[in-house]
Amino acid sequence: MKRLLGLAAALALPIVSAQAEDAVLTIGATVSATGPAASLGISEKNTIELLPKAMGSVAVRYIILDDGGDPGRCVRNAKQLVEEYKADVIFGSSTIPCSIAIGDVANQTKTTQIALAPIHTSDYVFSLPQTADLMVSGLVDHMKAKGVKQAAYLGFADSLGDHNYASFLKFAEPAGIKVSANERFARNDTSVTAQVLHVMQVKPDAVFISASGTPAALPAAELKQRGYKGQIYFLHGAINSPFLRVGAKNVEGTIATAGPFSVARELPDSNPIKAHAMALINAYESKHGTGSADAFAAYAWDAHELVKAVLPQAMAKAKPGTPEFRVALHDALEASKEVAGAGAIYTMSASNHNGIDNRARVLVGIKDNKFFLLQ
């Protein structure tokens, strides 16, 4: 029956959306459930599907659209969410270019966008993931402590790769570390031998592999096979179970900066993040299997937590589905303080739409094919 209703709704979109909704919060999401960023988008989609259909006394409806990683589609989806579904807030998208593209729609229509990729924020654009600067500086601190003098960068040939490299340079130089190689590889390259050879040629003390998910394991495997003995570092995007499965013995002893979500079970109970993280893990893994929840699920969860935290404030000023509500929601978000989520604790302001601090960053190591908290 629900399906039939859904079908009818989909077929009668223009008519249905024209009618006024009664205190129903509409959360629109556009994620990359297919395409090159599918592993990110699917996590986020699965999480949103788990979210409760009510916040307090307010009913919530979620509209999830797939954009396949194409910025043009992202914009179409964002416009559909705003113009057709009268979304009060947009979650998305999963990749940097898509999120940037949506930003324009968000600012023009004055609809809050909570991006799930680390981008520069603006008027109506918020971004939850840890910034490149935050995570990379943590890595560089560890490198410096370990006495690394020469490092190599092996990253994705995309926005993320560019951003992380820029951050790496920014922090490495003052720390006395020379970055002597900048190699790139594509997500589904079948061989990274050439890049690895290039990296090993400069004989670095440390190699920073900047990639997300399982692709990050390939260079590590190649480095180990070619006899590299230095320290390999990863970034938080690589930290998930499939990465461990594919990396196997090749990622033993590597180190990564991660969000606290990745080692949720090891966090002290006093850490407010732990409660949220465990709730997400239990909900997600009971449906999708053990070890399936990753950092991207946490971003989607936290977006929801933030909206939930500021909803009463916004409801006091206007009703959902109206332009005034969207402005109120935006203002309320900017005023949020110490909102705990599964991945970080957020304190926003008019000038800070990212809202996180060092509590969102931990260092993890890999031993016996498992992550553990370093410190």
Binding site: T34, T190, V192, Q195, A217, P242
Partner: protein
């Protein structure tokens, strides 16, 4: 770049090139027989590779559901067609090939997966799954429109690629898989370390090329296929049924793709969408052979692999650009010196 690095890169390039060459061979075969530029061949590679990974984890590869669905659709369709033409006696053989054979493969997979049989059995099952899938895909997607223009067939092939890739994402998920190399030895040849998997790839290329050659030269079925490739209408006139040729070509293509997949997943991570780029590079190799010549297709594919490895070393961000741009002078040369194709044989 010193000579040692150059040797390593060339070895790496040849290993990838061997896989491209395998696919280029069947791509030429399929094109010559059916005029289809099968860009979806890459999906056979990923399906076999990911099925293999699935078996390794003790899980039945979900792709068997697609196989089952297609088997039922084709069986019903062909049977209805046979009845309509009054050829009811053909139904047993129709069902045998299109229903019983896939069913046997599915049943075997369901039974064997949790038992975690030896690696070679897992590999054989994975290849069997895609090999049986190939002709079914041809029957559903291409056979009804086998006489269309090359352009229409190409668009269907691309649409099919999206469909199959979509099924790949649905059944195998977005994360990559990797398997232990089938031949986990490394041979030292002077300063160069040759990976066992690379040798296996080249050996497979040699064996399959020889096998295909023997098949085309010495068996009746192979000669029939060759005849169709040379002149489709003439082959029909002498009694070679075009659907048979098409299905055979697809079965071979799927088989070779499957074997390539098993080889590939031992040396790299395979994702649900890895097949497309591998298939595209195979197209480059096949084009070098003017979609006609098998030896040049092989040479071209290995060349693509080596060029890729070298380009990745010099300018990794521009690897694809270099590989594809290097193709342009090759194409120019081919245009000027190779025999012109018959009209209607192009996009």
């Amino acid at each position: 770049m010193d000579s040692q690095i150059a040797l390593i890169l060339i070895e790496d390039g040849i290993a990838s090139g061997a896989i491209y060459a395998l696919l280029a061979l069947t791509m030429v075969l399929v094109f010559a027989t059916t005029r289809i530029l099968l860009v979806s061949q890459g999906e056979f590679v990923t399906f076999a590779a990911l099925s293999f990974a699935s078996f390794q984890l003790g899980v039945t590869p979900q792709i068997v559901w697609l196989l089952g669905a297609l088997a039922v659709i084709v069986s019903v369709w062909d049977s209805v067609d046979a009845l309509r033409e009054g050829l009811g006696r053909r139904i047993p053989s129709i069902l045998a090939f299109n229903l019983l054979l896939p069913a046997a493969v599915i049943a075997l997979s369901l039974w064997a997966a949790p038992l975690k049989p030896p690696v070679l059995v897992q590999a054989a099952l994975s290849v069997a799954i895609v090999t049986v899938l190939g002709p079914l895909v041809y029957r559903v997607a291409f056979q009804p429109v086998a006489s269309s223009s090359v352009r229409t067939l190409f668009v269907i092939a691309i649409a099919l690629h999206f469909v199959l890739q979509g099924f790949g994402l649905l059944f195998f998920g977005a994360e990559g898989f990797r398997a232990d190399p089938l031949l986990d030895i490394d041979i030292s040849l002077g300063p160069v370390l040759i990976k066992g998997q690379a040798i296996l790839s080249l050996a497979t290329l040699a064996v399959l090329t020889a096998g295909l050659y023997a098949f085309f030269e010495f068996t009746l079925l192979g000669k029939a296929l060759r005849a169709t490739a040379i002149n489709r209408v003439g082959a029909r006139i002498v009694g070679i049924r075009t659907p048979l040729a098409g299905k055979m070509a697809f079965a071979l293509s799927a088989f070779v793709g499957g074997v390539s997949g098993i080889l590939a997943i031992g040396s790299t991570t395979i994702y649900y969408d890895s097949g497309f780029l591998i298939g595209l590079k195979a197209v480059l190799g096949a084009i070098c052979g003017a979609m006609l010549s098998y030896p040049i297709a092989i040479a071209g594919s290995i060349g693509v692999g080596v060029l890729e490895a070298l380009a990745a070393f010099w300018a990794s961000a521009f690897t694809e650009a270099v590989v594809f741009s290097a193709l342009v002078p090759v194409l120019l040369w081919l245009s000027l010196y190779a025999a012109p194709t018959e009209e209607g044989h192009e996009l």
